[in-house]
């Protein structure tokens, strides 16, 4: 079978940061475990502007002209419209042909890997196909809700094809189940709710992620120690540690991708940005296990083998270090939380 994988990638972390101390001053506490600061979009940014930026960066990293793209998949849980094609904005801005098939993946934080798998299916079916996946997110909740504390902002895009591979897809396995009460938006409200039943929610996270992850290990005949990097959904900086240890992965395997400590919860872009961070650190021959999670609930597990030492021009770490701190009042203003 023909090898397919990641041929290029691009990331973007917005410049603004807010520290956990700002929340502690405003509310008396900060509820995002292990997160010390998080990234914030500017007033004039949203999932689509960030998706356009990372799509362009990913194409430049190959390099590939936008007019080669035959499939474009967009992932976000913070769409600027509840109804309207979102991918069209990015497609036109970047110069992807109008004839490319596009899809918008928006209903859970699993959307990032959902879009990646859609892209892989395209290039597996059409050998000359070139797909781009862009995941960009800045989840939004009421400022009164503790679930809001973790929400950061960021984006990553991948060029998926069968040429010039950086990392080859070795296999994937998905798992879906029925859970509720954890991270949802009721039909008439664009803000994320969470009933905050922690143990119940953790049960869903652990069941879905470990089911997908262990099934993929079994399918590939692998053990956790065969991997140098493991990338896990990061609603905060503790959940990925819990899931990793359940699957017998170590903190060392998690280290290259633990972006939530300084960026917060990137929603549908969490796993994509974390995967880019692992790719930045990986050497040819390294293996990367990727496990996403979306409440409701489901997980996708993907296994990659890194085949070159080629990297994207803009590293996750470089964009993370470019920052300007804001206070909580400015945060409320640029989030549009003061009406």
């Amino acid at each position: 079978m023909m090898a397919v994988g990641i041929s290029g990638y691009g990331i973007y972390i917005p410049r603004f940061r807010i520290k956990r101390e700002e929340y502690a001053k405003a509310w008396g506490s900060f509820s995002a475990a292990g997160v010390t600061e998080k990234s914030v979009f500017g007033f004039d940014e949203d999932a689509l502007t960030a998706a356009a930026k990372v799509t362009r960066r990913a194409l430049e990293s190959v390099p590939m002209e936008a007019d080669m793209v035959t499939r474009f998949a967009l992932a976000t849980t913070s769409a600027p419209y509840l109804e309207k094609l979102l991918s069209g904005t990015v497609l036109v801005s970047v110069g992807i042909p109008n004839s490319a098939f596009t899809s918008d993946h928006t209903s859970s934080t699993r959307a990032g890997t959902e879009a990646m798998l859609a892209a892989f299916e395209h290039v597996m079916a059409t050998q000359s196909g070139k797909a781009v996946v862009a995941a960009a997110d800045a989840p939004k909740a009421s400022m009164w809700d503790a679930v809001e504390h973790a929400f950061g902002a960021g984006a990553a895009a991948f060029v998926i094809s069968s040429d010039n591979l950086i990392a080859e897809l070795e296999g994937h396995f998905s798992y879906a189940s029925e859970h509720f009460g954890e991270r949802f938006k009721p039909k008439d409200d664009p803000l994320v709710r969470d009933l905050n039943v922690k143990k119940f929610a953790e049960g869903s996270v652990v069941r879905n992620t470990t089911s997908a992850g262990s099934a993929l290990l079994k399918k590939l005949g692998r053990k956790p120690e065969d991997y140098q990097h493991v990338v896990i959904q990061q609603p905060d900086a503790r959940v990925p540690v819990t899931v990793a240890s359940r699957l017998k992965f170590t903190d060392a395997q998690l280290a290259s991708s633990l972006v939530s400590k300084t960026l917060g919860d990137l929603g549908a872009a969490s796993v994509p940005v974390a995967l880019a961070s692992a790719l930045d650190a990986a050497k040819a021959g390294d293996r990367i296990m990727v496990i996403s999670y979306g409440s409701g609930a489901g997980s996708d597990a993907l296994s990659f083998k890194v085949v070159t030492d080629k990297k994207a021009t803009v590293r996750v770490q470089a964009d993370t270090e470019r920052r300007e701190y804001i206070d909580y009042v400015k945060y409320l203003k640029i989030k549009g939380a003061i009406q």
């Binding site: 007033f43 004039d44 689509l48 502007t49 600027p80 036109v92 801005s93 640029i334």
Partner: protein, 137 residues
């Protein structure tokens, strides 16, 4: 607010999203945004489309503060504070006006290299009007 209807805004998408310029078939000058007659030779009205790189240098700029922003940008100024508006000389020649984003306004300098990227310009009739702004290159 200066009302820009949805169809009127839509017609400017080639310029606002993609920087499509118009090269004069007679003298070769690049016109941006499109002109009826070439701005350079003043004698031709035949052009071919050309995709501009979006790269250029700050020719001059001004910082817009409270009270100075047009109504459609007043909310942006209130939320984010002072913002820079520049005339940028693009690599291909045209001088174009646009905001500079993603920078501390105090750090904008004449001559600094910039490039375009997609941003939200403003929202009218609950329709987000996207378009280019400049960011440090």
């Amino acid at each position: 607010m200066a009302h820009v209807s949805v169809p009127m805004y839509w017609r400017t998408i080639p310029q606002r999203y993609k920087l499509i310029g118009y090269k004069c078939k007679k003298c070769g000058a690049v016109n941006f945004p499109p002109k009826g007659v070439c701005k350079q030779c003043q004698s031709s009205s035949e052009f071919e489309e050309t995709h501009l790189s979006g790269r250029g240098k700050v020719h001059t700029f001004v910082l817009i503060s409270a009270g100075g922003a047009p109504p459609e940008f007043a909310e942006q100024e209130k939320a984010g504070g002072q913002y820079p508006v520049a005339i940028v000389e693009l690599e291909e020649g045209p001088k174009v006006i646009g905001q500079i984003a993603d920078i501390d306004p105090k750090e904008v300098k004449i001559g600094m290299p910039v490039r375009t990227e997609l941003r939200k310009i403003y929202t009218e009739e609950e329709v987000i009007r996207y378009g280019f702004k400049f960011v440090p290159a």
